[in-house]
């Protein structure tokens, strides 16, 4: 089996940003970007979590690795060919991490995925207060609002946000994602206007096929 993610994880942990960029570029020659995000970068970050669990690395190491991963993502984004405006879709999306939430790597990959699909993207970063997000949302009027959270403590915030966004007059689709969505069953949140996105694969599926049958409007 390929050990790309472990190799990359160690580059992140060593703070070797040049080598990490170089390595991901090589991977991009071989694999599509979606594969890189889903099957290499994400597992690399999970692997780093496992190392912490094994008591082999510290929180400080994790922070460093996150910063390097962030850098690599920014670099990939800057180097990738922008979808030409003529081919851009008219769809708009705003993405942010809920208040107090510091995890954002996954969200950044989501932003890139939307861009890749020709969407116009506003990525507002993590830890955004509800007021700030509302100002941006009112101004930009996105078709999709993506909110992300990793920890279960954010559940009540997510609820509040959904409640608030549900009443926007143009009725955007609200996507809830982040590790929380992959670890807990958030089915209770789902509705015509709210969609829980488990992971990048799920998002890709949505681009291709729309909402899955689980949301049956008649039921």
């Amino acid at each position: 089996m390929d050990r790309h993610h472990e190799h990359l994880a160690h580059l992140f942990l060593n703070g070797d940003e040049e080598e990490a960029v170089e390595y991901t570029k090589q991977l991009l020659n071989k694999y599509p970007r979606a594969y890189l995000y889903e099957d290499i970068l994400t597992p690399a970050m999970y692997y780093i979590g496992e190392l912490w669990e094994k008591n082999e690395i510290s929180v400080a190491d994790e922070h460093l690795a996150t910063a390097i991963c962030d850098f690599v993502l920014s670099k990939l984004d800057a180097d990738s060919s922008v979808v030409k405006r003529r081919n851009q879709k008219k769809y708009k999306v705003i993405l942010f991490g809920v208040e107090e939430e510091q995890h954002y790597i996954g969200l950044k990959m989501v932003a890139d995925t939307f861009k890749d699909q020709g969407w116009r993207v506003r990525y507002l970063g993590p830890d955004l207060s509800i007021e700030h997000s509302l100002v941006q949302i009112e101004k930009y009027r996105p078709d999709v609002i993506g909110i992300s959270a990793a920890l279960s403590y954010r559940l009540s915030t997510i609820k509040k946000l959904i409640e608030r966004f549900r009443h926007l007059e143009w009725q955007p689709l609200i996507m809830v994602g982040g590790r929380m969505a992959s670890q807990f069953d958030l089915g209770a949140f789902e509705s015509k206007q709210v969609m829980v996105v488990r992971d990048l694969g799920h998002l890709h599926q949505w681009f291709k096929e729309g909402r899955d049958e689980a949301i049956n409007e008649t039921s």
Partner: protein, 254 residues
Amino acid sequence: MKRVERSFPLPHFTINKNFMIQTHSEESEKKLGVREHLLDFFDEESVVKIRKWVTPEVQKVTLEAHLKPYGEKNAPVPCDLHVKWDNDLHAEVLILTKDEQMEKVTKTMDQLRSRLNDTNFQLLEEKEKLEEAIQHANHLSAPFISLTSNTALVPLFGDITEEKMYTVESQLLHSSQQGDIDQILFDFTAVGTLEREGAQVLKNIMTSLNYMGSHISIVGVRPEQVKNIQAMQFPPQIQYINTLQQAIKKYCSE
């Protein structure tokens, strides 16, 4: 020397094998409150780790974990857990929260990152504004002007780029269908450079107009543009007229 027991001002516990707390220090009560089960203090993500490492098989261990948010905190609090088993049944556990310094550095990093993101965001907004302005300018760079009931003039402005030509394409095709227009003069007088991709699209537009029943004339080509036009092989039905004056004389003097 007398050994001092548990008088240090730190959260300290003795636990049994099942993580049930047997004793706790005053400091732990003040800081974290009272719980029966040691694991109840910890963030769910840390529980697996603690279960794995805090067992009599590992006589002595130091590990990092996260406490559930307590007091004023609203995020899990990183700490070091020092564990020593006195025997197979009981262990001493000392909890040291991480140095505030590190938290400070982390916070500063977060702030810097968020600043960068804001700047990035502003740049993006400016970029989009600029793109819209360009788009707008593109729209205006090929107006369709009816000169007589069947002759129209399309003065082209600026460089002929792919983007620009795609922008004006549909409005030109539509305008040509209004009224009895069957003669369209493309005026090149105000044209800068003729980019290859742009010229290709322009050529397609002219061909389309031709199929839709209009005669096309290209007016006012400058010497430096001739080579490009020749290389592009515009449709042979196109007429070339030297100046706009001549063209107007020819088509508008009825």
